[in-house]
Each structure stands twice: as C-alpha cells, then as structure tokens.
C-alpha cells in the first residue's frame, strides 16, 4: 500500500471512535502491545530527546525500502509512533522524504505533533524524512 492509502485506512479506523476516551484507549493499546524496536538500538545514538518523553528511532534499508523501528518511554507517544511507523515504514525512501502526513490532523492528534509539546515526535518525523532523503541520495 502507498503512504496515502495507509493514512486513509487509519483515518477510517479512527472515524469509528465515539469519543476521545475510545481513541486514547486504542492508542494506549497500540503503545502497550507493539514491540517496535530491537533492544540493542535503545541507546544514546538512537535517542531523540524531547523535554517530556524520550523517543528512540532506528532506520534500516531492506532492498529498495526503508524500514523504521522506534520506541518511547511514554505510552501515548509510543502509540502514535506505531501509527507513524505503520505509515512510513517499508516505503521507498523518496516517498518517505516527500510524505504529507495529513492523517495526524484528521484523527485529531495534531496537538501531539506540535513542537511546543516537546515529546520528541516532531523531531522523530523530521529524522525519518532525513533518512528518506539520505537514502534517496544514496540510491
């Protein structure tokens, strides 16, 4: 699936939630259930330090695709990470670089991707796109 097809699917999933509680319960569940990074990558080199929560990000090139794995010490942050990974991982680097992540706004989680929130997510997205750029140029 393309990045936008995955985004649209997520928007569709979220449209079923009645209120903020159901939505957050779902995100928290995502955060709890997904083991999304190899322990060896949870080190200083892979750390993106937000003021509020920490994020670890690892990128791998497999064939012509970039594969992301990531984690956070805060569970809501981690839940949102798993959505971002779902959207951007296993895509080709150029698509990652150019991705317009409209789904975040559409599912009402924009506040978590505001720079003032300082939870590491903004820097993480920036970093993912940088990997996209670097791997595009490497091709």
């Amino acid at each position: 699936m393309t990045i936008n097809e995955i985004q649209d699917e997520i928007i569709d999933d979220f449209s079923m939630f009645g209120d903020w509680m159901e939505k957050y319960e779902y995100i928290i569940d995502l955060g709890k259930t997904l083991p999304i990074i190899d322990e060896q990558y949870k080190d200083e080199d892979h750390l993106i330090k937000g003021c509020q929560s920490k994020v670890w990000l690892h990128a791998d090139k497999q064939g012509n695709k970039v594969v992301f794995t990531a984690d956070s010490d805060a569970i809501i942050t981690k839940g949102i990470i798993s959505l971002l990974v779902k959207v951007l991982s296993e895509q080709n680097p150029e698509a990652v670089k150019d991705a317009d992540l409209y789904f975040i706004d559409k599912i009402g989680l924009k506040e978590h991707l505001s720079p003032t929130r300082s939870n590491g997510l903004v820097s993480m997205v920036k970093q993912m796109k940088l990997y996209g750029l670097a791997l595009t140029q490497a091709q």
């Binding site: 903020w20 509680m21 928290i28 929560s53 805060a74 569970i75 809501i76 300082s118």
Partner: protein, 415 residues
C-alpha cells in the same frame, strides 16, 4: 477532612475570589477548567486587568523624560509601583527595588554584575541540588568567565537541604550563596533565614530565588537579612514581563551596571560615561511601565486578601490533596519535606508523567509534567520527571476532587 475547608475557617470568601479571576470560568476540552499550574504562572484578577487598561487609556507616555504633565503622571504611577513593592517585601528603601523582566533576568543581572566585580579564579559559588535552571546556568556562565567553581548543597530523599553539609561548603573561597526559597518541583520551603545567618557569619552574601515563595507567604527581606531577593510578577497574579530584583544598597552600589543604554546614565561622552544612581543604574532603556504598575496592583491585591489567610488556606488545600491522592494505588510523592508550600509532585507506578498529563488535559485539568526546569534534581531522584499540581488561593476542594478522580481515571487507562 473535607469539611475543614469552609468559608468560615478561611479568612476570605473563596467563591468570591474565584469570580475575580475571569479565566477560571473557561472550559477546556468541553469541561470546566481546573487550573493546577499556578507555579508555572498564576492567573490574573480583574483589578489587574483594569489597571492595565486604565494605564493605556489615561496615563501612557514615557517615564522620567517628559517635562509635560502626562509624562509626570506616568512616572508617578511607575514609581508608585516601586514603592508598593518596597512596602510589600519591607525593603529599607525604594532604591533597592530594581525592575527586571523576571526572576531569570534578576539572577542573570546579579551573576553577571556581582560576578564581574567579585568572582576571581578559584572562587566558589554555592547553590543547592534543587535549583531551577535559571539559578544554575547564569552562575555557570559567571564561573566560566572568572575561572570559579559551582558547588552544590546536597539534599535528602525527602527533598530537604542537608544543613550539616552546608557548614563544610561555606569556606573562604565561597563568594556568594544562591538558593531557592521554595522549590518549584518539590514544594520544599528552605530555611533561608538560617542559611543566610550561617553565610553571613562567614561574611558571604546570599541571593534568594523567591519566584515560588512570593505568591504563598509574607516576605520580609530585612527580617531574612537577604542580600538579594528575586521574583517574577507573573507568578504572583501580576503581569508577565516584569519582575523584581531586591538588593541591599551597599551591594548594588558596588556592582557595575548590567545593561547599558538610556535611563541608566548620568552623562555620556564618547570618552567616558558616568552612571545614574540607584535604582536607575540597573534599568537601561524604557521600562515595562504597565508591568511596574501591574505588579504593584498585584502586591496590593495579595495583601488585601491577607497573606496569613492565604498561607493557612493553601496549607489546608495541600493537606487535603495529599491525603486524597495518597489513596491512589501506586502513587509516589516526590518531595515530602516537613515544611512545604502548596506544590505536589508525584508519579504513578507503571505510567509516564507525559501520559498522565495528557489524560488529565482531556479531562479539563491543567497540570505540569516533565522535569520542571530542574534536570539535576530529577537526576538526583533518578526519575525522568513528575506530574506536578500546584495550588493558589483561588483553587478549591472541588479542583482537588477533580484531580484525584482524573488521576484514578488516567491510572486505570494507562496501566
């Protein structure tokens, strides 16, 4: 316990006071706002808003400069603010009241100016383990410049200063002690009077960061015998952008100016400039006139409510909140000093502060999460941060009940 907080026991009418703060009637995420982040910045009473509007409608012009009547009136209002603050903290003279932008600028002023004059290679500056970054970084800059060293008074697990260690840390190399009065992250009220007495016995001056003390208790700088006392208007129900540096005249006279510009000079030639007298020597440029007026109004407002009544009421809020929160399974309080202001920092086992804060926000409850600009302190407790609820006299028991309910909800969702 709940019944102890009633109108009759408190020296003021809480519901009436709440109505004087227009912002408190806002809704947040569809629920009535519960504002528990006054330690970051407090809300503003209507009298303050009125005074600012009145100033711009009727008095505004530049101060200390015009020969005309309007400028004279603005100058009088500006200087009246200074006098109100002098009286508020019982300074010996209004020359000792320097208008600054806030606590941060006040500390930077002293660190830079006192540092340039008095700090030499090998000297030491003493702070505590519970300082806000704004009482660490300016001193690091000053120390770096002089080749001096920063020393730290350690604390115990309750978040109290180790006073025995203090005696050893005060040496002939110590040139100044800079200490927080009330910790913003822990709520600890430090025994500043005792620290000042110990430092003075060795001829060492003391700066007190009063940012978190000023909204909660009566401050008498002469009684404390503080050499410098610094605070922000916005944490004491006044405007943002204004703060106070109180300094003993003898120190301020000896210190070189901080910023250069208009207002702070006596004569200027390209060869040599002579400086104005106190307090103007430290007030370069056009001041924050609405701020100086506003902080005076805020001080008067606090005094009208009554500082003793405020302290007593907030203590009851603190005890009630501590007792209610204690019932939550897996709660851990960070900062359990015997002598505390109305600040509660806590963690819930198996949850991250950011997550708890996010859920509380959805419930209309504003608390602070994170390291509270005290990273070395968080490292001392080996935690990433805390959830912090802080109370002002406009908070009530219902606010606390909503908080407790919210934390329970967050815990059940997150664990």
């Amino acid at each position: 316990m709940a019944d102890t907080i009633t109108k009759n026991k408190v020296g003021f009418d809480i519901e009436k006071v709440r109505k004087e703060f227009p912002l408190l009637s806002r809704e947040m995420n569809g629920k009535p706002l519960v504002f528990l982040d006054s330690a970051a910045s407090s809300q503003k009473p209507q009298v303050l808003l009125d005074s600012i509007e009145h100033y711009y409608k009727h008095l505004h012009s530049n101060v200390h400069r015009g020969v005309y009547q309007l400028s004279q009136e603005a100058t009088n209002a500006h200087e009246h603010g200074r006098k109100q603050i002098q009286q508020f903290i019982n300074a010996a003279s209004d020359k000792e009241i320097i208008f600054v932008r806030g606590t941060t600028e006040g500390i930077n002023l002293v660190a830079s100016s006192y540092g340039r004059k008095f700090l030499k290679e090998g000297d030491e500056v003493l702070v505590s383990a519970m300082e806000h970054h704004s009482n660490i970084v300016p001193w690091q800059l000053a120390c770096e410049q002089a080749g001096a060293h920063l020393k730290v008074i350690p604390i115990n697990d309750k978040g109290e200063l180790l006073m025995d260690e203090l005696d050893e840390l005060l040496t002939e190399r110590t040139k100044i002690v800079s200490l927080v009065h009330v910790s913003n992250a822990l709520g600890t009220i430090n025994p500043v009077k005792e620290v000042i007495a110990k430092a003075h016995a060795k001829g060492i001056p003391v700066l007190v960061d009063g940012a978190q003390a000023i909204p909660h208790m009566k401050i008498d700088v002469q009684e404390l015998d503080a050499d410098f006392y610094v605070f922000s208007g916005h944490k004491m129900f006044g405007p943002t952008g204004i703060g106070i540096l109180y300094g003993k005249e003898k120190w301020l006279n000896e210190m070189p100016p901080y910023h250069g510009g208009g207002e702070m000079i006596k004569t200027v030639t390209f060869e040599k400039t002579t400086y104005n007298e106190l307090p103007f020597k430290f007030e370069a440029g056009t001041p924050d006139i609405e701020g100086s007026i506003g902080i005076g109004v805020a001080a008067e407002y606090i005094q009208q409510i009554g500082q003793e009544a405020i302290a007593q009421y907030e203590h009851e809020l603190l005890e009630y909140a501590t007792a209610q929160l204690s019932q939550i399974e897996g709660i851990r309080f960070v900062g359990t000093a015997d002598n505390k202001a109305s600040v509660i920092s806590f963690l819930i086992d198996g949850t991250h502060p950011y997550d708890v804060g996010t859920i509380l926000d959805k419930l209309g409850i504003a608390v602070r999460t994170g390291h509270h600009c005290t990273q070395p302190l968080m490292d001392r407790f080996d935690i990433p941060g805390t959830v912090r609820a802080s109370f002002a006299f406009y908070n009530n028991k219902e606010d606390i009940d909503r908080l407790v309910e919210g934390v329970k909800k967050a815990a059940s969702m997150l664990r």
